[in-house]
């Protein structure tokens, strides 16, 4: 366990180094969040009766989404890992007396958490002090907040576990571009990154919520904004845990097979 923690620490510190990029990212996410809120406001003003949640809940959803973008952005995978599989540097990793799945898992968690840690606070702090309709409201209750933290962590873990599957597939096909693309675009829409899932028609929403993608950002953001009932939250957390276990299990099997038949590229 200790060695994985040190991989985690290493990546975390590395991620904290890119401060200018983080600043630019914060500005970008601010603009994005603001424009997104304006879009939903326009729809809300046109027709408030068909709005599936309180307007303030939508605002909280959007700000939290921007603040924790680095946690859930599936397109931000580690290019180093893809490169190492393609150019054969993976051989060095395989020589180490540690499980490659766990190592990459902790590295990915650390990278996302360090990026998120750098970026979330400025966004959250400013969003809390904005004037009323644009303000990030506090969570519905203290219980909601605790559950938000739990589901945030679970959502992050599910995101990383699914990315691990994409890395695993790269072992079997040299160019991961196609798989990666389909995965990223599917995840983007199905996790509620494009529009929050309650804005979809009820039947479609019901099906999508069962998929692993909905266990990523959809759950914590909606728990925070208070747009889920008690029963929905229980179901969502259960699904998160189920998908996490399932994805990690599947990933480990794939990695085992891959390690056994890995052909190291290059000389």
């Amino acid at each position: 366990m200790k060695k994985y923690l040190s991989f985690f620490r290493l990546r975390f510190i590395m991620g904290l180094q890119y401060r200018a990029a983080a600043l630019a990212g914060i500005i970008t996410q601010f603009a994005w969040g603001f424009l997104e809120i304006m879009v939903f406001r326009a729809f809300y003003q046109t027709n408030p009766y068909d709005f599936p949640m309180d307007f303030s809940a939508a605002v909280s959803y959007i700000w939290m989404q921007q603040a924790f973008l680095a946690f859930f952005a599936t397109w931000q995978m580690e290019t180093e890992i893809f490169d190492s599989i393609r150019d054969g540097n993976i051989a060095y990793e395989l020589c180490r007396p540690i499980g490659i799945y766990h190592m990459w898992f902790s590295r990915n968690m650390a990278q996302r958490m360090s990026r998120g840690a750098l970026r979330c606070f400025p966004i959250l702090i400013v969003a809390v002090f904005l004037p009323r309709p644009f303000r990030l409201e506090p969570p519905a209750s203290f219980g909601h907040f605790v559950l938000f933290l739990v589901t945030l962590f679970l959502g992050l873990a599910v995101t990383v576990a699914s990315c691990m599957l994409v890395y695993a597939v790269t072992f079997f096909i040299i160019s991961p571009l196609g798989v990666r693309m389909v995965f990223t675009s599917a995840a983007d829409f199905l996790s509620g990154a494009v529009i929050p899932l309650p804005f979809l028609p009820a039947k479609i929403q019901y099906v999508i919520e069962l998929l692993p993608f909905a266990s990523m950002q959809n759950v914590p953001l909606r728990v925070y904004s208070g747009s889920m009932s008690m029963g929905e939250m229980e179901k969502a957390v259960f699904l998160q845990i189920f998908w996490l276990i399932f994805l990690v299990f599947l990933g480990q099997i794939l990695f085992k097979i891959a390690e056994r038949r890995v052909a190291v590229q290059g000389g």
Binding site: A24, T28, F43, T46, L177
Partner: protein, 266 residues
């Protein structure tokens, strides 16, 4: 003069043909990237689709009208990204010290920088843009006449100019700093992403900003009102041409930057 222009155009076409031939060496990878481009903006489309399923209209604009608007914006952006990608990747050129080479050649620096990249894979987005555009053209209930067709052409021209100008600013800024230039994404990708809705829905402040600072509204909102018959004054039709002036300060900034340039060495 005419001779020089002819030579420059010839050279640019040569650059483009080199880039096209080189991506065609890796056809699978190329088509996958094209598909990726398509999927990315297809998600944006899905977002619009489902929001309109629920709300039917936004601030008086219908689904068909919004698709017409987004189709045009996405066409402008994907075309600009195709040929002005060289500006977009210029910071890397400065970092690697490759701009020195450009400066010693007896041809215009802008031409060479533009020629350094041609992103053909953007046809993936272009395809979607064209489909949405034609859907909008036929279904939005616009009564098309010569002036309206001309307006669309003005919009395309003006929009490409604005996006090119923004990429040009990004390139010019890299003479002064190489860090944190990602914020320019707000203006390039942000504009193409949020330009999906008529800018008027974002409220007055954004409308003012996009009229006088970065003229998106001139190429999107005002001419769109003309197309949809909400405004009839000719100024709404000609607004995109005014946006061409945006290239002037961009060019001045670039010149200033080139003068300022000190090589990264090696």
């Amino acid at each position: 003069m005419a001779d020089r222009i002819k030579k420059s155009v010839g050279l640019y076409i040569h650059y483009v043909s080199i880039h096209v031939r080189s991506v065609m060496e890796y056809k699978t990878s190329f088509w996958l990237t094209v598909m990726g481009q398509f999927f990315m903006s297809f998600n944006v489309f899905l977002g619009i689709f489902f929001l309109f399923q629920r709300f039917h209209q936004v601030e008086g604009f219908t689904y068909q009208e919004v698709l017409l608007c987004y189709g045009i914006v996405l066409m402008e952006f994907s075309l600009a990204e195709m040929y002005a990608r060289g500006f977009g990747e210029f910071p890397g050129m400065v970092r690697r010290g490759e701009f020195d080479r450009v400066l010693v050649r007896p041809r215009s620096a802008v031409l060479q920088v533009l020629g350094s990249k041609f992103e053909l894979s953007r046809i993936g987005r272009m395809f979607q843009a064209v489909v949405m555009f034609f859907y909008g053209v036929f279904k939005s209930g616009v009564e098309w006449n010569f002036l309206k067709i001309l307006t669309v052409l003005f919009m395309l021209l003006g929009g490409m100019a604005v996006f090119t100008g923004l990429f040009w600013i990004l390139a010019s800024l890299s003479f002064f700093t190489l860090e944190g230039l990602e914020f320019m994404n707000v203006f390039t990708h942000g504009a193409s992403e949020y330009g999906k809705y008529p800018i008027g829905i974002y409220g007055n402040k954004i409308l003012l900003f996009t009229t006088f600072v970065i003229p998106y509204a001139l190429v999107q909102y005002y001419p769109l009102l003309y197309l949809l018959g909400r405004r009839t004054h000719w100024i709404y039709m000609a607004a995109p041409l005014l946006a061409l002036l945006f290239l002037v300060p961009c060019g001045v900034l670039w010149r200033f930057g080139v003068k300022h340039y000190t090589s990264s060495g090696s």
